[in-house]
Amino acid sequence: MTTVEKIKPLVLIVDDNSTNIDLLVNTLKKDYRLGVAKNGQKALDYTEKHLPDLILLDIMMPGMNGYEVCGRLKTATRTKDIPVIFITAMTETAHKTRAFEAGALDYITKPFHTAEVKARVKTHLSLKKAREHEIYIASKIQKTLLLGQPPRDINGIQIAQLTIPSQKVDGDFYDFFKINNQCFDLVVGDVMGKGIPAALLGAAIKSHFLRVLNELIRLTDKKEFPDPEKIISSVHSSMIDQLEDIETFVTLCYARFDMAKYLLSFVDCGHMRTIHFHADSNRCSLLRGVNMPLGFPEQEPFKQTLVSFQPGDLFVFYSDGLTEAKNQDGVLYGEKRLVDFVQKNAIMESKELINIIRKDVVAFSQSDIFDDDLTCVLVGIEKKSTSQALSDKAKLEIKNDLTELARVRDFVRNFCEGIPGFPLDNNRINLIELAVTEVTANIIKHAYGEHTGERIQINALLLDDKIVLQFYDWGKAFDPKSVPLPVFDGSQSGGFGLHIISHTVDEVVYSRDKKGRNCASLEIKL
């Protein structure tokens, strides 16, 4: 855009007749930079190399004629939007029609008036400039309004995204909605249509999602986030009139990743099939929903589909721009190629993988300019081992004071909730909290008794199939056998602690080392 404004536009004149060339050069040289080609092949070479802003093309030339040159220019993504004006002595309607069919924008017959040539060239260049400006605006809308930022603090997940805007922005959009530290929603979509209308509609849909989420959350209990199918139904009913008015529709996939349950629930509305790579079998499956795109008037109720996943799995969401990228022979990149490529490289980190997907599509189409927007969002489920190193050990030291019990519980809860894959549900964590409260209270009350200013050290360890919680104190020795069995008839107020501990964790070991340090070690199987 800016280069077009600063320097004179480049016009290519293609003609085999020197007299005609001279005439056109003299007519245009004051206002434009000019290139000249004397046959079809030279015209194609010049265009490929210099990308002129407009081409004046003679029809009758030896070798490749003007129709053929024009046809070739129109099939290549890089050159298909360059305006072509035919200049020829042939005046019959059939010829003009054929020229337009070949992709010409306009037609000037010889002998021509210089004023007419000037006027038509000027008109088409300003139309081109207007089209480019629209694309510029639309791509601005896309960058700022259509593409959301992924949540950064969801445990056990890697998100990477790729967008290559096309020359004709076509309303691809995606966004993320974080529900809590273990759950987020992702929506990817594609508006039918191109340019500013599609981009604006995409932005409107995104704002509808935000509004609907807001309303649904206000209506329901705050702990209950509305289901994806409920969200899509509400967005659809609030937009159907507008979509019908402008006669368009939207394909999308709305997916919720629940890292506590390792469950994906998604509503697919005619979008591209999402790829699910399974780490255990090293194979991919394709996720397809049962719903029609948004904007289709008579909709069955929207239905969501549930899919469970495992550590190491990977999900690939994308727009048709990716699988419909063409090579120079018009062959599509295709779903199968993408699936095979993902399967072969799924071991990589999401960010790396998305980079090589980009490289593969560019290498395939031998171009980094595409007909459609190309968007792709990867959601990788981290393997347990990769994040284990971060949280496999934790330490806490407390005073021998009963007011510290809450800290012990918080420490243990945080540790349990931070285990990748979330093998412990809330009920089990509640029981573990109970056990550690009893252990700590016993140490404070019995091992240290009346002594103040003493310390208790607590280690939490994550091993392959269990967690170990160790409580160290330097108080009196403790022999569990010396403690009488609990009485459950209501006649005693105490004596339940050891019973609770042994019934809430999988194993308890009490020991004392030579330095007089007591250790209570609790094991919880995962």
Binding site: L402, T403, L405, A406, R409, N427, N430, L431, E433, L434, T437, E438, A441, I444, K445, P486, F488, D489, G490, S491, Q492, S493, G494, F496, G497, H499, I500, H503, T504
Partner: protein, 114 residues
């Protein structure tokens, strides 16, 4: 510790306004409740606020129960949260103290006999 009491006929309903009842505040709970148990021998504890209880909490409730029974009264519980209910089952308090879903049911049970 904050307690709110309400006298309904012969029954005193004590709403326990704490989220945690463990070894750190069981004594405090005992002290705060003592005057109530002197006034009334039919007591319902509404414990919906309590999210966490340990064996000290259980022990305190059992000592209240013994005290009330010795004065020909009783102690009942209502609106028990899930984690606390699991603890009660573990130490078998659910077999010794009657537990009700609502305050009204607990009060009604007193009218039908201790």
């Amino acid at each position: 510790m904050k307690l709110s009491t309400e006298k309904i006929g012969e029954v005193t309903v004590v709403t326990v306004l704490t989220e945690v009842l463990d070894a750190s505040n069981a004594e405090e709970f005992k002290t705060a409740t003592a005057p109530i148990l002197k006034e009334s021998n039919k007591v319902v504890f509404e414990i919906s606020q309590i999210k966490f209880m340990d064996s000290s909490g259980c022990g305190t409730l059992l000592s209240f129960l013994r005290q009330l029974k010795s004065s020909n009264g009783n102690l009942k519980l209502c609106r028990v949260q899930e984690p606390v209910r699991i603890l009660f089952e573990l130490v078998r308090i659910d077999r010794i103290i009657e537990i009700f879903d609502t305050k009204e049911e607990a009060i009604k049970s007193f009218k039908m006999g201790i």
